[in-house]
């Protein structure tokens, strides 16, 4: 969907997403989540509550998880964005993705992209997190299906099964 142009001229912005530069003319008010989904065509990042509560839209800006419904695309111009599509490397799933498969870390799957991005970030900063640390880490993200138990287990699974090039704790 293209946002209706009402008044101000569009601005041309270039954002590097998963290593590839994406350039589009957008309204300055365009939110990053919509740029990623509609302009870049990457629908993995989900658009949920729109109020920075649910965390379905979490992606990384320069490696830091960010709620993309509460950031302008214009503010992201010139920065490196990583979305859930960027987790897989050379056709091989990231351990965090494999963990969600192994431990049944999702039911409807709506929260999953955000959970994966935050889960990967938690492990990058703390390779062997406790259950409490995982629960604190995902406390800005809502899941209405799992009761979080299987999400915590999935992140733990990924901690126990680091990729070969990953330094384990």
């Amino acid at each position: 969907m293209r946002l209706q142009r009402l008044r101000e001229p569009d601005v041309e912005i270039t954002i590097k997403i998963n290593g590839a530069e994406v350039t589009h003319d957008v309204e300055p008010r365009t939110l990053l989540v919509h740029f990623v989904r509609e302009n870049a065509g990457l629908r993995g990042t989900h658009w949920g509550c729109d109020t920075s509560n649910c965390g379905a839209c979490v992606l990384w800006v320069d490696g830091t998880p960010t709620k993309s419904c509460t950031m302008l695309a214009a503010s992201a111009a010139g920065h490196d964005i990583t979305t859930v599509e960027g987790l897989e490397k050379d056709g091989k799933l990231d351990p965090i993705q494999q963990g969600f498969i192994e431990c049944h870390g999702l039911q409807c799957g709506f929260c999953t992209p955000g959970m994966l991005m935050t889960g990967r970030w938690i492990l990058d900063n703390n390779p062997q997190p406790s259950e409490a640390e995982i629960r604190e880490g995902i406390s800005g993200q809502l899941c209405r299906c799992t009761g979080y138990k299987n999400i915590v287990d999935s992140i733990h699974w990924a901690a126990a099964h680091p990729a070969e090039n990953e330094v384990s704790a």
Binding site: L3, L6, R7, E8, V11, E27, P28, R29, T30, L31, H34, D50, T51, S52, G55, V58, T64, P65, T66, K67, T70, M71, L72, A74, S75, T118, E136, G137, S139, G140, Q141
Partner: protein, 289 residues
């Protein structure tokens, strides 16, 4: 779908550049820092700026540093950076205790100290911390810099001394050697705004309180401070009885309103109880206690 109304956007390249943009556009312009208060307000049309001046490129507003006998926190320091700062934890553990319960880890990655202070929500945790520590806000305009004590910073809910054409650039906190500090908060759910919160920072010398700072959030305490309770405690021993008396005085100085977070008498009770707990832990942590 919630989207901000049409707006222009410009990135400032320096504080001077931001100030000149603000001067040029007057009250039509708003500063965009972390955006985690402003963008939601714009989606709800509670804010309708014509132009956003994005200050995220201004590294001069970042960083936590010691300058003489003060700790300086730049306006663009994020909540996550305050939470993990070794300098702040060494001198003022109250920051870590407060930040752990501000929003959630992802929001803390983006939300800034300066943005939170200027949003001036009546339940803002950093305002209560700032009052307890007697910080000083540094505001810059085209003429230069001026300072405003934290306890004069708020004009009212969502209103501060930062005028059109001005930027909050940093907040400075005096280092109190040997001080103890603590923060207590009750919220409805993880990451929510406080129903009530209280912070305390004390020094003890010769067995009595030599300085006392009490900050209280979300219950309409004037300038987030409890000055009568502070004055009562200075010179007195840190006994449970004295602390309980001060906590009651602090609660009496609050004027909470009933809302979806609870009735007024419950909030007053929290003000008393949380002030007591914060003072008790701060006193125990103070050297010479």
């Amino acid at each position: 779908m919630q989207t901000p109304a049409p707006v222009d956007y410009v990135r400032a390249t320096s504080v001077a550049d931001a100030l000149s943009l603000l001067q040029q556009h007057g009250d039509e312009a708003r500063i965009l820092a972390g955006g985690h208060s402003l963008l939601p307000m714009m989606k709800l049309r509670l804010a309708r700026p014509e132009i956003l001046v994005d200050i995220n490129d201004l590294d001069e507003l970042r960083g936590i540093r010691i300058d003489g006998n003060e700790i300086v926190i730049g306006a663009m320091v994020t909540h996550a950076e305050i939470l993990s700062s070794p300098i702040l934890f060494e001198h003022y553990p109250i920051f870590r205790e407060a930040e752990k319960v501000i929003a959630d880890p992802i929001v803390r990655n983006k939300g800034t100290m300066g943005g939170s202070m200027c949003q001036a929500d009546p339940a803002e945790d950093l305002s209560a911390v700032g009052a307890a520590l007697r910080g000083t806000v540094v505001i810059q305009n085209a003429q230069g810099r001026r300072t405003v004590p934290m306890r004069e910073f708020h004009e009212g809910p969502y209103e501060t001394k930062v005028a059109d054409g001005e930027i909050l650039v940093e907040v400075r906190y005096p280092i109190l050697p040997g001080s103890g500090s603590a923060y207590e908060k009750v919220e409805r759910r993880s990451g929510d705004w406080a129903v009530c919160a209280a912070g305390a920072c004390v020094t003890i010398s010769g067995g009595v309180f030599s300085s006392v700072g009490i900050g209280i959030g979300a219950v309409n305490a004037e300038h987030f401070a409890a000055v009568d309770a502070e004055a009562f405690l200075v010179g007195k021993e840190p006994t449970a009885e004295n602390i309980a008396t001060a906590a009651q005085m602090a609660a009496d100085s609050c004027d909470p309103s009933a809302d979806q977070r609870g009735p007024a008498d419950y909030k007053k009770h929290l003000a008393m109880e949380l002030t007591k707990r914060a003072l008790t832990r701060a006193a125990a942590a103070a050297k010479g206690a």
